[in-house]
């Protein structure tokens, strides 16, 4: 049986002594861990640094990994979550996501004013996302970037599917409020400038 055909838990069991097995786990999960960290830190440099630390820590402790009914990804996300939390704590100010790189202005050929409005909305929304508590940011990243279902997110975050559903609804309501606040703040600023 090849390592590629084994599932994550079977690979994790042998990964302590078998670097090829750990390599297979690495190939399967490096992109999603990188994405998670990238959206939590807001820049590629720190995302690379923290991703490297996640896998170094995972390699150090994979021999002690126990199958407790949660997916291996959940274990990796927990390591990533802890390292990102430490990273935020170590910084006096929270760096902002380089928004301009993310804002995918919809279709080429649209009127520039419409593009600007659409871009502004996305910028506001991303700012609002970045102001959310850690668990809500994690939920949105897993849902939209990783396209995970509520049940899968629940496994990763150690909550029930119902709890994730309810947290998601509350997060959307908070986002709506935040965007509204940011919009009104922007309009006030523009009016003052005029």
């Amino acid at each position: 049986m090849t390592r590629e055909s084994l599932d994550d838990l079977a690979l994790a069991e042998i990964a302590g002594d078998d670097m090829e097995a750990f390599g297979e786990l690495y190939e399967r999960h490096v992109r999603r861990i990188y994405n998670y960290i990238y959206y939590r830190t807001g820049n590629h440099h720190d995302a690379e640094d923290l991703t490297a630390r996640v896998f170094q820590r995972a390699l150090r402790h994979v021999a002690n990994f126990e199958d407790k009914g949660v997916p291996f990804t959940a274990w990796l996300y927990r390591i990533a979550h802890n390292l990102v939390a430490n990273w935020h704590r170590d910084r006096s100010r929270r760096p902002m996501v380089p928004l301009d790189k993310h804002v995918a202005v919809s279709e080429v050929g649209e009127h520039p004013e419409i593009e600007a409005i659409a871009g502004e909305e996305q910028v506001q929304l991303l700012r609002a996302v970045r102001s959310l508590p850690d668990d809500r940011q994690q939920l949105l990243i897993l849902k939209f970037v990783e396209r995970m279902s509520n049940a899968e997110i629940g496994e990763v975050m150690g909550r029930t599917e119902g709890a994730i559903k309810s947290l998601y609804h509350r997060t959307l309501s908070t986002l709506r409020e935040e965007v509204k606040k940011l919009d009104s703040g922007l309009e006030t600023g523009e009016a003052e400038q005029e």
């Binding site: 750990f22 490096v30 990188y34 990238y38 490297a52 896998f55 170094q56 995918a104 929304l125 959307l172």
Partner: protein, 91 residues
Amino acid sequence: MNRKQIESLLAEVLTPVEPNSQFVRSLRARLVTYQGGGALSPWMILAVLGTAILLAITSFGVLLRFIIGLISLFGLLDNRRQSKTGSRASV
């Protein structure tokens, strides 16, 4: 902005990013090196223990020789003193 609009905007904003392929490859290589040179390698532990025991034995041997040397020196000095005192007494 309603819920659907927020969801569609989130889907546009939170899109997967691809890490630099060179970073992915070099990190894998670093992990192999890291495991090979890991402090928790059983061979490494054995080598460190062996070296520590050898060093302890060697340093204990050196210490013993030093103590024996000191005792011999004191004995020699004491002998000389006694022989000098004995020759004076005989005169």
